[in-house]
């Protein structure tokens, strides 16, 4: 009986959502179709990553197709499973109301609620739009964020955050290159991005690494199922005088399955199932986290070529170091170079000691990764193992390079 019915009351909402969802390329719904097999039994299976959003999008799709009754059934199951998924509750409310009246827009709440909860309502609408947009405007197959110029195959995963889309992309890395494996809705700082000072409620932008995995038992429930701190402020941030700290990737509190797009004090917040997947996946210390205002996606094939000029510079540095010529080496360093508090002059003695140990042996750079970060300046975050021929071990090093005209120079170097 009900299957044949059309939710006239949802026509307008359907248009709103259809404009954003139904026109999406087929690939955008890949997750949805995967989820179809997962979703139906509303049993208390632990939610896996991405499923909640896929179920929400399925509801949207049914609305867009005019299948209001089916949409209501799916939404009912969804809020039953995840009563704290606010956006799902909002859509569920709309679908219920659509049974008896026109629903004019997403979150067509009564006037008094709209007034009392106006900020939340606006945030939920924004969340909806950003989720839809991220799913609709998918990165083209075989493209990766432009920052990942070279990643050693030893780095098994990488993360990139697109602030404009409230989206975190998780990649798997192999000899063949990076491969996008999952992406999740995220919340960022209340005041947006470009963190510069402690307490500014902004999320930092730049190239970071996961530094640790905090035991959820030690965390307040506010942080959800875990936390992965990143190394804000990094060398570049510190050089620029940025302050603050404690920027984490963490989960959502018990009363919120997801938080609004701009809601945190600067952290990157995920739904708990999504965060849990990341925690299970990534490697502490090695997994890079790029946080960009907007990601630029480039062909995986062409990115190596883009990195070639810098790779040449890096090898020139290696050759200089192999030569043992102090002046030739120091030419690669900026005057304001620092290394863990040492000035270039102070650090030069460290360099000399290193050179004397090398005794003229050739240096090999192993497992080289370099990630480019370009804003007002053009910088490179480089990680490698430095091993002299004839020795079995060496140093794991990280360098920060900055381009000045055609010249790349090192403004930080340290061991990991």
């Amino acid at each position: 009986m009900s299957g044949a019915l059309f939710f006239r009351g949802l026509a307008v909402l359907a248009c709103v959502l259809a404009a954003q969802t139904v026109l999406a390329p087929a690939g955008a719904w890949a997750k949805t179709s995967r989820v179809k097999h997962v979703a139906p039994p509303p049993v208390a299976v632990p939610e896996s990553d991405g499923v909640a959003e896929a179920r929400l999008i399925e509801v949207y799709r049914l609305i867009g197709q005019g299948k209001g009754r089916d949409a209501l059934d799916k939404a009912t199951q969804l809020v039953e499973d995840l009563p704290n998924f606010q956006l799902a509750q909002l859509v569920y409310g709309d679908l219920l109301n659509a049974r008896t009246r026109q629903v004019r827009t997403l979150g067509d709440v009564p006037a008094d609620l709209a007034q009392e909860g106006s900020a939340t309502l606006a945030a939920l609408r924004e969340e909806s739009q950003r989720r839809i947009r991220a799913l609709r405007e998918r990165p083209a197959a075989g493209t990766i964020p432009s920052q990942f110029l070279a990643l050693s195959p030893r780095i098994r995963h990488a993360i990139a955050v697109d602030a404009s889309r409230s989206r975190l992309y998780l990649f798997e890395n192999s000899a063949a290159g990076l491969n996008l494996v999952a992406d999740y809705y995220i919340s960022l700082g209340k005041a947006g991005t470009a963190k510069s000072a402690e307490g500014d409620q902004r999320t930092p932008l730049g190239v970071y690494h996961i530094t640790s995995n905090l035991d959820p038992k030690t965390l307040k429930e506010f942080y959800g199922s875990g936390a992965l701190p990143i190394n804000y402020p990094n060398i570049l941030d510190t050089r620029r005088g940025k302050t603050g700290g404690g920027i984490w990737l963490h989960g959502a509190p018990p009363n919120q399955f997801a938080r609004p797009p701009l809601a945190t004090d600067g952290c990157v917040v995920l739904a708990n199932p999504d965060l849990e997947h990341i925690i299970r996946t990534v490697e502490i210390q090695s997994t890079p986290v790029v946080i960009a205002p907007q990601l630029e996606w480039v062909e995986r094939q062409s990115i190596r070529a883009q990195g070639r000029p810098f790779e040449d510079v890096l090898h020139a540095w290696r050759n200089a170091k192999t030569s043992g010529d102090l002046n030739q080496i120091l030419a690669f360093y900026t005057p304001d170079f620092t290394s863990n508090g040492k000035t270039l002059q102070q650090w030069t003695s460290t360099l000399k000691a290193e050179l004397s140990k090398l005794q003229g042996r050739t240096i090999q750079l192993k497992d080289v990764s370099y990630l480019r970060w370009t804003d007002a300046a053009d910088t490179m975050v480089v990680t490698f193992g430095e091993v002299a021929d004839g020795t079995s071990t060496g140093w794991s090093k990280r360098q920060y390079w900055m381009r000045d005209g055609n010249q790349w120079k090192i403004f930080f170097e340290g061991t990991l």
């Binding site: 009900s2 044949a4 006239r8 009351g9 219920l96 049974r99 008896t100 609620l113 009363n255």
Partner: protein, 367 residues
């Protein structure tokens, strides 16, 4: 669609009075007595009477239903719920037990369960307007709750829940068939459905804009004619083929009276025998089916309803006919049963003679 829906609802509400008149079952006196006791607030007495009756008629749907109402009125909510649940299990075709179950669930704040029950009620009878109204209120309440959760507004001050309409009596204990809104006469309705203040648009908005109620889509029915078709919708078995003795009044009738009686009996026999062709041919060209239903749609529905039964039994009692020229009226009590369902009701058939045959032109439940 919009207009159809509100028109139907309006029509249904208007049909209420007529509907309340037609309720009459085999042991109407017992039912009436219990109902009156309930209305008079003599709940203990009513319960005793109902129990007494049920001890000899344990399956009687109407009395079990009344007992559920009594339990509810007595504040024995769990018992009332249990009794309506059992009714829905034994008589899944009846919409009223689902409706009342929903009323009880809603009163407990269990709106999800209320919703499920009302959706079942409507599934069993898409034109059941009380259930629709109740469901509309439950949807609105659930929507309000969902919005409050979505916006994380303080729900420590929850809007007052909707007061759903309780049904006092089974309109048609046989289940199947369209029926008008059952007995929402003041006495029989606990309270007019109140809108939850936070949740509902203006009432006008609600009626004017409810475009997609299943009722209008699937089974538009005008009340008067709905009543007409309610009875046949029930069922009848071949045993019914043995016609009940004609009433004395009818017996001493003229030849014309005898013709009318024969036509009516043939109609009942064909029905009980599930001889759809003969059954339908008993209706004249002028016969107007329920509501806005076309003749062909009505015939199709009758065909489905009749052939869908394992066995049907129809008995006619107290057949009284009056003949006025080529027009006749036949009034009788109709006992029919199918499976475990059985119901008696008063029925009136209006017939017209044409081409030497009496045809039914109007069928209504009630005297």
């Amino acid at each position: 669609m919009k207009n159809t829906k509100s028109t139907v609802l309006f029509a249904l509400r208007c049909g209420v009075v007529a509907a309340s008149l037609v309720l009459s079952v085999a042991h109407a006196d017992d039912y009436t007595e219990v109902s009156q006791m309930v209305r008079a607030g003599k709940l203990a007495e009513a319960l005793a009477k109902a129990d007494q009756y049920l001890s000899s008629h344990p399956k009687d749907a109407q009395m079990r239903f009344l007992k559920g109402v009594i339990l509810r009125e007595s504040g024995k909510t769990p018992e009332a719920i249990a009794s309506f649940v059992r009714l829905t299990e034994d008589y899944p075709e009846l919409p009223e037990p689902y409706n009342n179950l929903a009323v009880l669930y809603a009163a407990q704040g269990q709106y999800d369960k209320a919703r499920t029950a009302l959706e079942m009620s409507i599934r069993t009878n898409p034109s059941y307007s009380t259930a629709h109204e109740n469901l509309g209120d439950v949807y609105a309440k659930l929507a309000s709750q969902a919005y409050n959760k979505a916006l994380q507004l303080d729900s420590s001050n929850p809007a007052v829940g909707p007061k759903l309409s309780l049904i006092r009596e089974l309109f048609n204990p046989t289940g199947k068939g369209q029926r008008p809104s059952p007995l929402p006469a003041p006495a029989s309705v606990a309270a007019a459905p109140t809108k939850a203040p936070m949740t509902l648009p203006a009432p006008a908005d609600k009626t004017a804009q409810t475009p997609t109620k299943p009722a209008s889509a699937s089974a538009p029915v005008a009340p008067a004619s709905a009543a007409a078709s309610a009875a046949p919708a029930a069922s009848a078995t071949a045993t019914a083929a043995k016609p009940a003795p004609a009433s004395p009044a009818a017996a001493e009738g003229s030849a014309a009276t005898k013709e009318v009686e024969a036509a009516v009996r043939n109609w009942a026999v064909a029905w009980a025998a599930k001889d759809v062709k003969t059954y339908l041919s008993a209706y004249g060209e002028d016969f107007v089916p329920a509501g806005s239903m076309s003749r062909s749609a009505w015939e199709e529905e009758r065909r489905k309803r009749i052939t869908g039964k394992a066995s049907i039994s129809v008995k006619l009692e107290n057949l009284q006919t009056t003949v006025d020229g080529n027009k006749a009226t036949a009034k009788f009590r109709q006992d029919y049963r199918a499976n475990e369902l059985s119901v008696s009701s008063h029925k009136t058939l209006e017939l017209v003679k044409s081409a030497d045959r009496w045809h039914i032109v109007k069928e209504s439940v009630g005297r």
